[in-house]
């Protein structure tokens, strides 16, 4: 019998069974999360099915309002109220309201996400928490409502792909470029439902923010989860915040992988995903000069403090002003990020450059709020999706790093940072 991959280990522990890739198991959940989108649907479904019964464990349920924060339309205001009232009725303490930011990032900062945990939520980018070795998964209304009732859900144990990077790269290349590089190299029809494990010196060198960037776009690779083994720094960061001693889940030395891939990223250059697919990736230099109407720095993929800092530094270095015809929107992922950015003077840099800094949250990624696009508009975003018409019929979106986004805002066309 060979050894186990990380996901096989996590699901064995949580199901109490000897779980192997391909098996169906019922696993105990550590946390079941809803947002202000999906959340009201979950509440209504729960009430319809469970008829006033108490939830499985109020402390293992969380609500994070990041979709339309604060509400713009009355229907969403009503939806948020439905969630708040349900939380009050069932004694659910962990409600992170519209002033908190992107849910997964908030939960991480709160010390509620531990390596080796199983977390589900109504967000297809829930799996970015694989950045700290948690098995987290985006799910629909029915799954989460059932989870609130029983504390368990069914899983098909994914096969695992071991991806090892080697080589090194320098600024202005970043974790986003490494991520886009991988998207361009893998066949996403072959990574559907797979668990990816990431290794190699370029991964060891990534900060938490960089790890979150990579893990978040495993969704666009169609993978189930992208797992990175947390290093000592990240373990102690989580330990401090959770007040618990935490350990990483390691794969067995003789674990059996569906596939093992190695990528040399030596000399990586800034990349950009062109319309309308996240894997339609080209070097920035090949599309440099393309006219741009709007630039967005933020999202669950690139909304951490260091993402904002890189963008601010590029703005400063390139003259401190964005092009007059460009609209630039900057959104910190969470309150903690916002405070850090204010204290570091980044807000002043952005505002004086002509950018708009919004409150923390998902901002324009969710098309629920602001920054929607006109027909013919072109957006360069640090987010994770550029599907056709996502932000407005007839608009186009490119995906790039914070450094490229900031340089683009200064030039008014797709540009490399100077």
């Amino acid at each position: 019998m060979p050894g186990k991959t990380i996901i096989e280990k996590i699901l064995s522990v949580h199901s109490g069974e000897d779980a192997w890739a391909g098996d169906r198991v019922w696993a105990d959940l550590d946390l079941a999360v809803v947002r202000d989108f999906g959340g009201p649907n979950v509440v209504l479904e729960y009430e319809k099915q469970m008829d006033g019964e108490p939830v499985w464990d109020p402390h293992k349920i969380a609500m994070t309002f990041d979709y339309q924060a604060p509400a713009k339309v009355v229907q969403v205001a009503n939806n948020q109220r439905i969630c708040r009232e349900f939380a009050a009725k069932h004694g659910i303490p962990h409600v992170f309201d519209v002033n908190c930011g992107v849910g997964q990032h908030v939960l991480l900062e709160q010390g509620m996400i531990l390596p080796g945990s199983v977390v589900i939520g109504t967000d297809s980018h829930m799996n970015l928490l694989g950045a700290v070795g948690s098995f987290s998964s985006g799910m629909g209304t029915t799954d989460v409502a059932a989870a609130w009732a029983t504390g368990r859900l069914w899983f098909r144990v994914p096969e695992s792909i071991k991806i090892t990077f080697k080589g090194s790269y320098d600024y202005p290349a970043s974790a986003k470029d490494l991520t886009l590089f991988l998207l361009s190299k893998i066949d996403t029809t072959k990574t559907i439902y797979k668990a990816l494990e990431f290794y190699g010196e370029p991964i060891d060198g990534l900060s938490l923010a960089g790890r979150l960037t990579l893990a978040s776009m495993v969704t666009e690779m169609e993978g189930k989860i992208g797992l990175i083994i947390p290093d000592e720094d990240i373990l102690s960061w989580i330990g401090e915040r959770s007040g618990r001693k935490v350990d990483a889940v390691l794969p067995d030395r003789d674990a059996s992988y569906w596939e093992e891939r190695e990528f040399d990223i030596g000399g990586l250059e800034p990349l950009i995903a062109c319309p309308d697919r996240p894997d339609n990736v080209k070097p920035v230099r090949e599309v440099a000069g393309t006219h741009v109407d709007q630039v967005f720095v933020g999202s669950c993929t690139n909304g951490r403090f260091e993402d904002l800092r890189v963008a601010a530094e590029v703005l400063k270095r390139m003259g401190g002003k964005i092009a007059p015809q460009v609209r630039m929107i900057v959104t910190p992922a969470t309150t903690e990020v916002a405070v850090e950015a204010v204290e570091a003077g980044l807000y002043e840099t952005f505002i004086k450059a002509g950018a708009m800094v919004t409150n923390q949250g998902c901002s324009l990624c969710t098309i629920g709020h602001h920054g929607v696009l006109a027909e013919g508009d072109v957006l360069v975003s640090t987010g994770n999706r550029n599907f056709r018409g996502k932000l407005g019929k007839g608009s186009e979106a490119y995906l790039a790093s914070p450094a490229v986004a900031a340089a683009t805002a200064v030039k008014g066309e797709i540009a490399l940072p100077e």
């Binding site: 999906g38 697919r277 629920g368 018409g389």
Partner: protein, 172 residues
């Protein structure tokens, strides 16, 4: 109930990589009433803007690779279910869409090569038990992957909650 997993209906064929924004656009996410959600099915799929006016109960949606990629929104399944689409047959499904369909008891089937074998308007017979698709208009057949295991049990129970309730009764 398993034996009734055979559907006969008219085909609507769409291409590869139909994502959840195309099936059910993000601007309608605040909706919670399934009847309201049903009004926006496939609105952003080029050429399918008037789908909800033209779809008939029992019609079958045929799609290419990676149907339903993107968001976790269950609205994307519900919007088709509440247009009385009988089943979806695709070359492959994105994982969250697949799971949501199973959990809602909505029949879906993976059939390699199906988009080459079917044109919009063809009359199909889909047997979710055997995975066989008969194109009655063209007189041809394609073999897909039949439903199996836990997913089949959940789907044929009428969805996850029905399955769990049956399970709880058995346990009692």
């Amino acid at each position: 109930m398993t034996d009734s997993f055979v559907f006969k209906g008219r085909a609507w064929v769409v291409g590869d990589d139909i994502d959840t924004d195309m099936i059910y656009h993000g601007s309608y996410l605040p909706l919670t009433d399934p009847q309201e959600m049903a009004k926006h099915a496939l609105e952003y799929v080029p050429g399918m803007e008037d789908f909800t006016d033209r779809v008939q109960p029992g019609d079958i949606l045929v799609a290419g690779r990676n149907f339903g990629s993107g968001s976790s929104r269950e609205h994307a399944v519900i919007t088709l279910q509440y247009n009385d689409v009988a089943a979806i047959v695709a070359e492959s499904f994105s994982r969250i869409f697949y799971r949501n369909a199973v959990n809602l008891g909505f029949p879906i089937l993976e059939v390699a090569g199906v988009t080459r074998a079917v044109e919009t308007g063809d009359e199909l017979e889909v047997d979710a038990n055997t995975g066989r698709i008969c194109n009655l208009t063209k007189g041809t057949e394609v073999q897909g992957t039949p439903l199996s295991g836990l997913e089949k049990e959940i789907m044929t129970s009428g969805g996850l909650f029905n399955f769990l309730k049956k399970d709880m009764q058995t346990a009692e």
